[in-house]
Symmetry: C2
DNA sequence: TTCAATAGTTCTGTTTTTGCGAATTAAAGA
DNA sequence: TCTTTAATTCGCAAAAACAGAACTATTGAA
């Protein structure tokens, strides 16, 4: 598990940020990180294959949305909220305010799917999660 | 030029909206519609092939971002701002506030490109622009 | 009415992404 | 060292993006 690439916050464009957020799975990840703080990938795996989730985290990381640090055998991800707030004032708060929380199933693992659209591309390279 | 499909505003998801906005060309289109009001596709064609632009407008339209009406030989596009404000309060304003305007070239056609990332998919079908 | 011009769309082929299962790597602990 | 857990990478099939070429619709002459 090698160290991961994190773009400098001033390098990220609004389009690439929105692109990263334009997927229901990734949006749900962001919502949970905002709500629950730092989380390992594994705590969000429900309903999505690991390899796919790894891809989504990579997209989020490369778009500057999340920061990942190694911690033993897992990787802890957190929102780069303060940095994003500095780069795009008000954007994340406005966004988090309108994310409708995925229907909560009491005490259960939550299905990350359910949204209806949003896929995309990137132009960068390194891996993730 | 047949009539176009416009989703009901309550049908659109945040993810699909963000997906549509997650492309530098589309983001620039949105910025200009917000700034200049209703515009034909042709007024935004600079630097992007017609067929590609048509695709981008289709994505925006199907994501509920723009409304298109026929007017003679052209199609006039406008932001569905009020509806979007109703569905996702504050989101578009927050977004428009942080779009950095493409470098203005005085009196010239503006190159729509220049951003660095953001592509995506959709799950719908009908055409556009 | 017929022709030409303009605005957009659709078609088609190429390239890029995505999503997922399978195999792999890394770290931690018996 | 062997196992378990966590996550990445590989490889393939399906989908989408892009852009050029061809097509359709509308307008405005001639």
């Amino acid at each position: 598990m090698r160290e991961l690439f994190h773009p400098k916050i001033e390098q990220i464009s609004l389009a690439s940020l929105l692109y990263a957020l334009g997927d229901p799975v990734r949006l749900e990840i962001v919502r949970r990180l905002a709500e629950q703080g730092e989380q390992p990938c594994s705590s969000l795996c429900c309903g999505v294959p690991k390899s796919t989730l790894s891809h989504h985290f990579k997209v989020l990381r490369e778009a500057g949305v999340v920061f990942s640090r190694k911690e033993g055998t897992q990787r802890l991800n957190s929102l780069r909220k303060a940095e994003l707030d500095g780069r795009f004032p008000g954007l994340m708060d406005g966004l988090l305010a309108v994310i409708d929380p995925a229907p909560p199933r009491i005490g259960a693992t939550i299905d990350l799917l359910g949204g209806q659209a949003g896929r995309g591309r990137e132009k960068r390279s390194p891996p993730h999660c």
